[in-house]
């Protein structure tokens, strides 16, 4: 296992290096941030002074070298917009995004698994067809539209839920969270549900597909013939086997949800990292864009690792690392 983790980390460093190269040169091709930030009354001398102060007057290779030196020392640079270290900004906002993404994951699993199991057990029932129709819709209707419709219905017309923002966080083990208060849950409900839709649809479809396949497997027939209770057959023997593809897909999906919760966060003015990224791109805040993407790569690598470990717990036949023991 240890060897596996070390190999993974080395891979990550390589991926990170290639990625920084692409991103760094990519964001340097488009536009010049000085023209976005500086006042229109700033003269040429003033613009040149700002360029020099930000290090933008240096050749691109020199800028990249400075960036790498900083990266090795754990310094990802200061945001042009905010003037504070980019990583501080990301850590400041990440809990909000993580909370949103976890809430979405819980909704996806909590609602998706039972619905998928039902649809798998009774494929011909009308309710199952409704479930499958719903999952199809969740895939195909744009998130943006769903978010706006929900705001229109639940905030403007019914007045049940607030349309914007996040509640005042409370401290839980050093993390600012909002799901512990009623106000927090009311703010969380719509964005979390909107964000969960795609994952929800995936869970429903994978569960149903897995159910219909596994139900006809021999070991299920034997289990039933042995007189094991139906709830145990479904809950343990079936579920354990169909969870593997679900964990795989959700693991990958979840990273994407965290990294690109941009649309949902924008619609609901959720103060997370996704919205920050969009704002950073709009004003060409290069250090912040690069720092965020570095952060995302690290997160994806970590998530993949986690998924592999969960595998081995779900199915002891799978051994990560492959070494003899």
């Amino acid at each position: 296992m240890l060897e596996f983790i070390i190999r993974r980390c080395l891979q990550a460093v390589l991926v990170l290096f290639v990625m920084t190269l692409l991103v760094f040169f990519g964001v340097n091709v488009i536009g010049n941030p000085v023209y976005i930030f500086a006042s229109s009354e700033c003269t040429q001398a003033c613009l040149n002074a700002i360029s020099a102060d930000l290090g933008l007057d240096q050749p691109i290779w020199e800028q990249y070298r400075r960036f790498l030196v900083g990266l090795v020392q754990g310094d990802l640079g200061r945001s042009f917009t905010y003037g504070i270290p980019a990583m501080t900004l990301i850590w400041e906002r990440f809990p909000a995004t993580l909370e949103l993404a976890l809430a979405a994951l819980i909704i996806a699993l909590g609602v998706g698994l039972p619905l998928g199991v039902f649809a798998g057990l009774r494929p011909r029932s009308l309710f199952s067809k409704a479930i499958m129709g719903f999952s199809m819709l969740s895939f195909s209707v744009p998130v943006f539209w769903i978010g706006l419709i929900m705001i229109l219905v639940f905030s403007v017309n019914l007045g049940w839920l607030p349309a914007i923002g996040r509640a005042q966080p409370v401290n839980l083990l050093g993390l600012p969270v909002t799901f512990l208060t009623l106000d927090g849950l009311r703010h969380l409900a719509m964005p979390a549900f909107t964000l969960s839709l795609v994952m929800l649809a995936i869970v429903i479809r994978l569960t149903r597909a897995g159910m219909s396949e596994v139900l006809h497997a021999d070991y299920i027939k034997f289990a039933r013939a042995n007189g094991i209770r139906e709830s145990r057959v479904i809950g343990v023997h079936v579920m354990k086997n169909i969870m593997i593809p679900i964990v795989t897909v959700l693991g990958m999906e979840f990273g994407g949800v965290i990294a690109f919760a941009v649309v949902t966060e924008s619609i609901f003015s959720w103060p997370g990292v996704g919205k920050m990224l969009i704002d950073a791109i709009a004003v060409l805040d290069r250090p912040l864009i690069v720092a965020y993407l570095v952060f995302v790569v690290v997160m994806f690598v970590a998530l993949n690792l986690l998924v592999d470990i969960v595998y081995s717990l779900l199915d002891p036949r799978i051994r990560v690392g492959g070494g003899a023991r």
Binding site: N32, L54, F80, Y82, V156
Partner: protein, 536 residues
Amino acid sequence: MKRIGLAAIVAASVLTAPAFAQDVLTIGVRSEAVSMDPHWTQLSADLQVQEHIFEKLVNLDTSSQTEPGLAVSWEAIDDETWEFRLRQGVTWHDGTPFTADDVIYTFDRLRGGISGAPASPAFQLDKGSKTWEMVDDHTLLVRTEGPYPNVPEDLAMLPIMARHAAEGREFSVDFNSGLAAIGTGPFMFEEFSPGNRVSLTANPNWWGGDPGWDRVVFRPVSQDSARLAALLNGDVDIIDYPPTVDLPRIESDANFTLSTTPSDRLIYMMPAYRHVEEFVRDNDGNVMTPNPLRDWRVRKALSLSIDRDAIRDRIMGGAAEPTRNIVPPGFFGHVDALEADAYDPDQARELLELAGYADGFQMTVHGPNDRYINDARILEAIAQMWSRIGIQTEVDTMPRNIFFSDLIRGGADTFPGFDSPKFSMSLTGWGTVAGDATYTVSGVLESYNAATGGGNGNFGRYANPAVDALSIRAKQTIDRDARLALLTEATTIGMDDYAFIPLHFQVNVWAMRSGLEHEARTNERTLAWEITRTDD
């Protein structure tokens, strides 16, 4: 609890003014503030929050004209010296008295440079090569190199900091935490939660009296429709930039009101004047020599063929004021005699024929698609109007981060330190920040001159010696009447020459629940003490 109470009222869809006394004002804003350090940026979103906390020597009224702030009066005692008398009895939020030493500290801090700040207002001090000197605790001298009339306007851009609170603090970080965010303004810093809210409480000791609200909360909502929804369901009391398509609907709803005023932001089409322009070609696709945009008759024809009223009514939801001026009414230097061109495509065709372009030509116009209100849609409409008089016009819009770099320095022959614009005809805007046309004339009509800062915004590279002479003299004329005459003449010459093709001033719009009254500001800021309750 208050919000739940409000929500219940909305649920019953009888949204009337709440019966309980409300002393908290919640403002939904399009752009979020990024820093509480008032010397960090020049962004409107930041300044409007900071202006609640920090004040300047000179304030701007709702029409951006100067009025006393921390200075009660000022005058030019000779051609190169300005004397500012400071307000007595003002205290910082922590109780320390405010003196001229704080102003000196502020100016020194700016002059010293705010490391890493891409948009610090320090350049306002460099204009006119200002130096400063403290006479006594409440008198200050500002000296300039040569006569320089805009000292008060420049100082209206510089928020004053307390020496004892700001010295030695880390910029941005210590301000965002509130440690150094100590000003003299009507509201005091309470909490800054990036991306979520900024809250302020009333300053009971403000020299200006009761600011009207106990507490003010700014909430950023960047999506237009979500911001409107937040107003509709009572999450916020007032919003800036309501979506223009919804303006008629809000206006007809008794539960909500609008406040409007023409903005200082002029939207215009800027032609480029090089001998050969890449994006202007004849009907066979060959570049034209000379570039037909150099002929004023062509520029006038382009202007006459734009139906500005249609753009105002059908694209801008009424929130535009067609114009041929460069600063809005009420500003120093507005020329009453200049009226927006009436739509006249027939005369436009005649002018084209006179200029020798009876068969028209081809042109690609450029513009941003996320900077000005409805920018891309305006550009598309104009392209259609121009195509109708025989100039086959294609539209190329892009995000502002690409657009402005190319506009300013995208030309192929660019080398470091010298800007070469890229586009041949582009939609852009220019805001006149301090209510005085001196900088507008200098910025957009004067020839480009990297050394003097003339023609800062003149990316079409229009050059007219008559305008230059007037503009340079205006920048050195302290007497207001004489300066006004120079500005009027320069503007009239430039606009009669169609140096660029003005479209309209944007109209700033706020939407609020009924029971509130708001004095709309030309400079787009939303200031809590200009919003009053009428329902108690």
